[in-house]
Chain length 202, copies 2
């Protein structure tokens, strides 16, 4: 259940945890390979489990959902995002604070290639896109109180402005990443994000 994934270097904890982590990596690698090879929808859980050498039941214990096999740690995304935004000084504006959060998330990507590969899958697969948008919406919900506090709007559901600012920031991130993928990973996502915001806010 809960795992201190602090196995950065050495300190291999118990043998169990090491085995767990190994299996987890194996499953993740197999899934990503098959997804890029033959597409997300065309890859079945049974196939991933077979090629990774585990049972379907175990696979579902590691990753509760087929989607989780791609995103890996989307939950950590949300964590890093809200943390980064929350840690911004109080005198920083909303837009700047959100920018800082988004920038913090970008650092989490392992490599440009892997990020590009994942984004490409995400943008080209309807079911994945849907799931991702849904998760992103939950991040927005988590961020909402922070944003409203920074804007001075009382929120409580009556004032739409906090939600609007938040949704716009993510919308720009969306546009930026889609353009980034369309350009085969050329340029920097944050630059594109800035360009998007500038286009929107004049």
């Amino acid at each position: 259940m809960k795992q201190e994934a602090k196995t950065a270097a050495g300190a291999p904890a118990t043998l169990w945890d090491r085995t767990r982590q190994l299996a987890s990596q194996e499953i993740l690698a197999t899934a990503l390979r098959l997804f890029t090879e033959q597409g997300y929808d065309e890859t079945t859980i049974a196939q991933i489990a077979r090629e990774a050498g585990v049972s379907q039941r175990t696979l579902f214990r590691y990753f509760g959902t087929k989607e989780d096999l791609l995103g890996g740690d989307q939950d950590r995304f949300g964590q890093v995002l809200t943390d980064a935004v929350g840690e911004q000084p109080a005198d920083v504006g909303v837009w700047e604070a959100l920018r800082a959060g988004i920038a913090a998330v970008q650092v989490l990507h392992d490599s440009r290639e892997q990020a590009l590969e994942r984004f490409r899958l995400l943008h080209n697969t309807a079911s994945l896109r849907a799931g991702w948008l849904e998760k992103r919406l939950r991040f927005q919900e988590d961020l909402l109180p922070l944003v409203e506090a920074r804007m001075g709007t009382a929120g409580g559901g009556a004032d739409p402005r906090g939600r609007a600012v938040l949704a716009t920031a993510f919308a720009c991130l969306d546009a930026a990443s889609m353009t980034w993928v369309a350009n085969d990973g050329k340029g920097d996502i944050m630059d594109l994000y800035d360009e998007c915001l500038a286009a929107v806010r004049g």
Copy 2:
């Protein structure tokens, strides 16, 4: 299944078509009732089919997807939207044109109550939210060329600004409708939308 052997009154279309339409309405009404009564995820296709008096197979022939039982004509939404935007005079700005399109869609709702009921289900059910966002993304893709033409940006994937403006407009609509639902349908969605845009671009 059973049918009124008489139906003497009026015969505008063939009996087939009439039966079909009747069954369709019956299914739709049953589905909406069960969804609001016990929730979307807790309602099975088998239950809807049983209470509507048709087989599952037939139900799936009428509505290809469980989601289709709620939205009904989401496709028409997109149609009206793109038509309205496209029909705006050439000298109208992007933001204004998009606003006109969104306003055109609002007219399609049957009644305030029904719209509120549907929106409530939509915003409270994760799977539905995901599907809706996905479909909305497709609308954005349809709208993109129109927006880029109006902005003078030669899209082709290289320029993110068209996508950014588009996504922002929808983001504001999202924030507006969520606030509308949170306030139990009080006020006008378009007013909230304007407020959102002002907060973003102000």
